[in-house]
Every structure is written in structure tokens, then in C-alpha cells.
């Protein structure tokens, strides 16, 4: 890819969220990758943000949600009653 099509730091940073969340096109992702390879400052910032997202996600997923006793059965009973109507 020609250097003329490379992203500036500002352009890359504008795509930070979409890049980390894989919500952009393959072409844009490639352009961000190219920028990060040559820009240590942006690469540090992107790594930090990715680390925050990863950490927050991991912590929240450690929290186990326990269904209240009987809820599953009440739901199934309601469905059964509805299906029998």
C-alpha cells in the first residue's frame, strides 16, 4: 500500500473503538495496523486501551449470576400453561 494512503495518528485514533471491537472494514483495519507499525506512540495508546477493555471484560465475566430458586421452574410452568391453552 502506498504511503499516501496511510492514516495519520488522528485518523487512526478516530478509529480506535471500531478497531478494537472489529467493527470496521478489513481495509480500514489494515490501514490502522500499518499506522501502528510505524507509530510507537499510537501503538502504546492502542495497547493500553485494549488492555483496559480486556481487563474490564474479564472482571465482569468472573461474576456468576445465580438464578433465584424456582425461577426456571416458574418460567417453564408458565410456558407449559401457555402452550396448553
Amino acid at each position: 500500500m502506498s504511503h499516501l494512503t496511510r492514516f495519520t495518528s488522528e485518523e487512526a485514533f478516530r478509529r480506535l473503538d471500531d478497531f478494537l471491537d472489529r467493527e470496521q472494514s478489513a481495509a480500514e483495519t489494515e490501514l490502522v495496523h500499518e499506522h501502528l507499525e510505524i507509530c510507537a506512540g499510537c501503538a502504546r495508546e492502542f495497547r493500553f486501551e485494549a488492555s483496559v477493555l480486556r481487563g474490564v471484560r474479564a472482571k465482569l465475566r468472573q461474576i456468576e449470576v445465580t438464578l433465584p430458586p424456582g425461577l426456571r421452574d416458574r418460567v417453564l410452568a408458565a410456558l407449559a400453561a401457555e402452550g396448553a391453552r
Partner: protein
């Protein structure tokens, strides 16, 4: 407990009632998402009794609307959408969360710049892990609870359920662009709250001292 009698042998879902789903296909899909749905209902309703009612009502509504579910799409997102509508049909007024931090105009890279300034790790492959590990699950969850409702809900769906932007948009009935902007602001706000919590808990000070030691 009598309500579970014969549950394993008699599916309530008759083949003709489930649209594109295979006969008996609704119940297993629902049961697989019941726990995360209760977690989400708890975030919305903020008390266990209302959350239970919400899950039960949403289950019944989903059952009645099963013919509108497209097999091959994300059942959890579809069910969460029904649950969300169910909640807002009852609770029109949005509940303001108890925010203790001024979240207006939070700059980008808040944790990054604060960490660097305070002498905490800000480089390396996983630079924020030390801080977030020390914060722990409960404080991180409580930090999301402090975000204004519209940002907290989007962040919760994003972080805990792994929904894509378009799925969050469908769940909440808002445009994808709104999800994107709320998530962007919500993440920044969350970083500010996390930093505030880490300071209050003495974590910033501890980690800074630890970094100073040879």
C-alpha cells in the same frame, strides 16, 4: 416443588407454534440464556423481585412471539430485546444512578494519561491489568453501576454479553450510531470512575509505591 412436574417429558412448545424453530426448539434456547437474562434484568430493574418478574414475563412474551425469531440469528440478543421492551413498558422513567464522579467532558485516554502521570504501568503488552486486577470484579461492576443509565446499559451489554454493535442496537431499539457514540462516551466515563475508585481505595498509591521500588 410441583411446578416442575413432567417438565422433562412434556415440552410446552408445539411444533406449529414456533415458526422457523424445530419442534421443541424454543425451550432449550430460552433455558440457555436464562441466567445472563436474569443478570441483565437485575441491572435494569435493580432489585431481584422485579428482575424475576421481568424474566418470567419476557419469557412468556418471547414464547408467544417465537414465530418472529429467525433461526441462525442470535437468540440471546432477540430475547434481550424482548426483555428490554418489557422493562421499559413498565418503567418509563429512567432511574438516575448515584454518580459520585463528575463525568462530563472526560478526556480520551483517561486511565492511560493518569497511570503515566502517577507512575503506574502504562507500557507493555497488558499495561492496565495490574490496576484492574487490584480493583477486582465487584468494584468494576460497581463502577459501571455509577454510569448514567443510557451509558451503563450499553456498557453492560458490551462487556458482559459480548454483543456486537448491531446486536446492542437491536436489544435497545436504538440506531447503531447511537450505540457507537454511547459506548465511546461510556468507556471514557468508566475509566474516570475506575480511576476515582482506585484512588479512593488506595490502589493507586500502593501501585505507585510498588513501581518505585527497585
Amino acid at each position: 416443588m410441583t411446578e416442575s412436574t413432567d417438565r422433562s417429558t412434556a415440552s410446552p412448545v408445539a411444533p406449529a407454534e414456533v415458526g422457523g424453530l424445530a419442534p421443541g426448539g424454543f425451550e432449550p434456547l430460552l433455558l440457555a440464556v436464562l441466567s445472563p437474562a436474569f443478570g441483565y434484568a437485575l441491572r435494569l430493574a435493580r432489585n431481584r423481585a422485579d428482575a424475576e418478574d421481568l424474566v418470567q414475563d419476557a419469557s412468556l412474551l418471547a414464547f408467544r412471539a417465537a414465530h418472529t425469531f429467525e433461526p441462525g440469528t442470535n437468540f440471546k440478543a432477540w430475547f434481550f430485546q424482548i426483555l428490554t421492551r418489557c422493562f421499559y413498558a413498565r418503567h418509563r422513567r429512567q432511574q438516575r444512578r448515584p454518580t459520585t464522579v463528575d463525568l462530563e467532558d472526560t478526556p480520551d485516554l483517561y486511565l492511560y494519561s493518569r497511570s503515566a502521570a502517577a507512575g503506574l504501568p502504562w507500557e507493555g503488552e497488558d499495561p492496565a491489568s495490574l490496576l484492574i486486577d487490584r480493583l477486582g470484579s465487584e468494584r468494576v461492576e460497581a463502577a459501571i453501576e455509577q454510569l448514567p443509565e443510557e451509558y451503563g446499559t450499553v456498557c453492560a451489554l458490551y462487556f458482559t454479553e459480548d454483543f456486537a454493535y448491531h446486536e446492542i442496537a437491536a436489544v435497545l431499539g436504538i440506531p447503531v450510531g447511537t450505540v457507537r457514540s454511547r459506548l465511546h462516551r461510556g468507556r471514557k466515563m468508566l475509566q474516570k470512575v475506575l480511576w476515582h475508585v482506585a484512588e479512593e481505595a488506595g490502589i493507586v498509591r500502593d501501585l505507585a509505591h510498588r513501581e518505585e521500588r527497585p
